[in-house]
Symmetry: C2
Subunit: 237 residues, 2 copies
DNA sequence: GTGCACTATATCGTATACAATTATGCTTTC
DNA sequence: GAAAGCATAATTGTATACGATATAGTGCAC
């Protein structure tokens, strides 16, 4: 769709196979929180929805399970992932572990035009925050994640880029589940601060700001254990 | 035949679905370098080898492609991944980026019994280095990687653990392709040094040792670009 | 009325079948 | 003899079919 998404595609043949298209469509729905955690994704339903056979639907669901966005239970089916509080903590721990390193790499290689691109993304993010519609909120969620993905892309390491895509997507699920404040992507201003630090080549500060930013997102979550785990099962389909 | 599958399957959970078993078997074969990079993995051949249908073979190959161990080309088939020199550099860059962080986490949480376990792994590694058989060499490769995976496991972060599994597996492919010295897993002594530093809680030194260790592995590679890329295509099936 | 057993239904797991695409080899022509 | 084009074979892409497993609904016994 946008340049970011295109840049993230590693080896995309112009003709993506059917399963990949379905996978991407479902992933987008999950990340934009149109699909709630725990929602059952029946192979037949998915197939019917996209007018393909169960074969392709199944392949797409399998792919999403490798990314941690969908959990497939043997002989029971696929569900939009329902990350546990512990899983949520590990996701943010992983982000704190890798994002400073990615930021360092990115700051060393960044070009002026890429800085402009980052600022543009920030502007777009701010514009969407002002709006009040559902679609605007969804676009805002996406833009907020795109900031982190853009940095990974600038770092030039495709492996870290793919890993960040997974972490950002899973973060979206976690926020959907445990987020408290109405402003889900609270760190808009913090994004700007990071860019500013990058621009004046103050990498050390940029890393610290990034770490605080990630911790702030996590701090907005309510990660207390919910009742019994069995209860979750009762609602997951 | 079954004998092959059984021999490869070390920890066969009865609950694992067929495709997963096949995936694990092929992955092990790739990591232990019984399958060379570029080898064609035809769906029919894989299916016949494991006495299953193409459906399961295809699913297993897809799964391996998500891990970066197999590359599937549309309408052309699956091949054992043939990482480019650039890809190899990115793999090691990623390892340098994440392993110090993992090590820090692990060092903070490690228990005395886990230290013993690490030492035991090191001993096993050394024993295998002394032997001269093909199977010993394969086991050595595995043990060498297991050291890094064990640290990830001790860190307690499942996400980083899975990521490290991918990186270690792909490193094995890279070493198979570009490794020069006969001693492929050269860093046996370095593993010991890292453990020693961990044991005396000198985390800073441990991280530095780990970084050097990773760089040493990479330094043993010959990552100069090979002739034309087209040539590779000529041999890959 | 409660609990258990059994059947019925829906969904997943796997195999097979057919369509689409690519690779191969032969023939033909210059 | 070399190159181009067509026909054939091989392989992948996708759909359908059948068996296996879990869920739920019903009826019976107590």
């Amino acid at each position: 769709m946008n340049s970011t998404a295109d840049a993230l595609q590693t080896t995309s043949d112009s003709t993506e196979t059917g399963a990949q298209q379905i996978r991407d469509a479902i992933r987008e729905a999950i990340v934009e929180r149109r699909l709630s955690p725990g929602t059952k994704l029946s192979e037949s339903d998915v197939g019917n929805l996209f007018n393909v056979s169960r074969t392709l639907a199944r392949a797409a669901l399998q792919a999403l399970s490798y990314e941690g966005l969908v959990s497939v239970e043997k002989n029971r089916g696929a569900f939009v992932a329902y990350p546990s509080p512990e899983e949520a903590r590990q996701i943010f721990a992983a982000r704190r572990l890798v994002e400073p390193g990615i930021l360092k790499e990115a700051a060393e290689r960044i070009t002026p035009s890429q800085v402009q691109h980052l600022k543009q993304l920030l502007l777009e993010e701010g514009r969407l925050m002002a709006e009040r519609g559902q679609t605007a909120r969804r676009a805002e969620i996406k833009a907020s994640g795109d900031f982190h993905l853009m940095l990974a892309s600038i770092s030039g390491n495709l492996i870290m880029q793919r890993f960040m895509e997974e972490l950002v997507a899973r973060s979206s699920l976690v926020i959907a589940l445990y987020g408290q404040s109405s402003v889900s992507s609270c760190g808009h201003a913090e994004h700007g601060d990071v860019i500013a630090a990058i621009e004046r080549k103050d990498i050390e500060t940029a890393c610290h700001l990034m770490l605080h930013h990630i911790s702030h997102i996590e701090a907005d979550l309510d990660l207390r254990e919910r009742k019994s785990v069995g209860l979750r099962e009762a609602f997951e389909q």
